[in-house]
């Protein structure tokens, strides 16, 4: 029977330093068999330079995921909430498409006034 600690690992897309990964995985294999899966996940996480660690298809720019307790149900839930700091960092001023449209309309109106006010030749 083959050694369960030598079973193959699946690497999600990301960049892996194979020398570091080998050391981490070998260390994981030397741990307790019961902790093997968790240790392997840690090893993969440590050795990877994965720019997409936080990636979630539900991400909305300027929002963040937070864990909140739902006392009624007695469970913890992960919800998306507006994060003003994050929005500022991304250069978002809290405007949505409607606000953008309003701004554009205001600019067009301002331009129209400017043209109307400009001296005639």
């Amino acid at each position: 029977m083959s050694d369960p600690n030598s079973s193959p690992v699946t690497l999600p897309a990301g960049s892996y330093d194979m020398e570091a990964l080998q050391k981490d995985l070998d260390r994981a294999a030397k741990g307790k068999a019961a902790d093997y899966t968790e240790n392997v996940e840690k090893a993969i996480d440590t050795a990877s330079d994965n720019v997409a660690k936080e990636q979630d298809a539900r991400d909305i720019p300027g929002y963040k995921f937070v864990e909140v307790a739902n006392k009624d149900l007695g469970v913890k839930e992960t919800i998306q909430v507006y994060d003003a700091k994050k929005a500022d960092k991304l250069g978002l001023d809290g405007s949505d498409e409607r606000a953008d449209l309003t701004n554009q309309q205001a600019e067009v109106a301002a331009d129209a006034v400017a043209v109307a006010d400009s001296p005639k030749e």
């Binding site: 083959s2 193959p8 997409a52 298809a57 539900r58 909305i60």
Partner: protein
Amino acid sequence: MAWNHRSRVVAMAVALQATVGTFVQPAVATDLLAVSAPTNTTAVISVDDPTSTGAIWESARVYLGKQSTLGATFPMRGPGGAAPPAANAWPMGRIMQTAGWAEQRLAAARTAAVAGGTTTTFLLANTESAVDDFLLGAPLQHTTTGPGNGAAGTTIIRDYIGASKTALLGETLASAPAAASNYTIPAYLSYVLGTLTTPPPVASVSIWRDKKRYDYRDWAPASLAVTIPVANEANTSFPDITFSGRGTVVAIVDDTTPVLPTSILAVPVAPARNGKFYLDRVKLGHQSLSFTEATTLAAASNQNQAAGQDGFDIISGSRTTALDLNQMAVTDFDLHGREDLQTVMPVMSTWGLGSGNNWGFIEPNIVLNPFSPGDRNGYVNLTGDAVTVDVDKAAALTLWW
């Protein structure tokens, strides 16, 4: 008004996104990708407006939004240089990552003594990994694998058994490696196709057309094809990677197309010759090998999003291999017998033009569909498809230094 429509003055740059929905502006200095003329098109998402106009004409459609498709072909030139680039630094590697290929980097070569082996296996040193498949796709050099450390002198590891440190090869050697002789695993950059169970990253892409730049975020590939045609006087072609996918327009701005730096263009596109091609570990003459990954992209409905939907997910996919072989004698290679028995076999290809531009491609386990004879430049050829039987690590594309 300046002229702004020279269609050959184009460029493309790509950056990986840490977060879906957030555009990362690709930098001209580090993120340019040397591709042939890219395509970027945008189509309307609309539905008929049933409102009666009081005349025979229908109302204008209800405008729901837009969707963009962009892609390009990458003539296969490696990053070159003296050592593999830093993590996530090679722009073409970023495209590979978005398609679910894990980037594996060995920064420095290592040499150790062989413990034994056969003509198709190496028993590597005890210091190698204890994990199965760990070296799948890695290059391996030894006096038995051919002359030099280029495409003709390097083999690609098809499979690896961690408990016994056994590397299974994609080819058959003339002789087994002698125990205590040295082998080398050169510094390498390998892309290994995974399960895609964990969503791969998405990319931000900029495409310049003369003096205008089109920016897209959340680009995800719908297809990626690696094509490796043999180059010779009758077949004037070179290996390339063609990719296409969907993204969301972020901005269209005036910006002059950047010029590709010499550091990229000085690395030549490597033609597929003076290397190796093995099917079921048998050296065969052939014209082309191509591997196509096709995926279905979808986005979940979400009214909280500006586009009414979340970022793109890859929800299903297929992997197909197409082969164009020279006809061979049944006594040399019983192709049709292998078709009938559905023999599981590797296909391996190596080619290249020097350090950082040496290439290897392997599919460890494929089975053949029926092949048909035809004509290629006056010779009988056999064309047909193959499919991989592996869910994980179905293919590896490797560069070495």
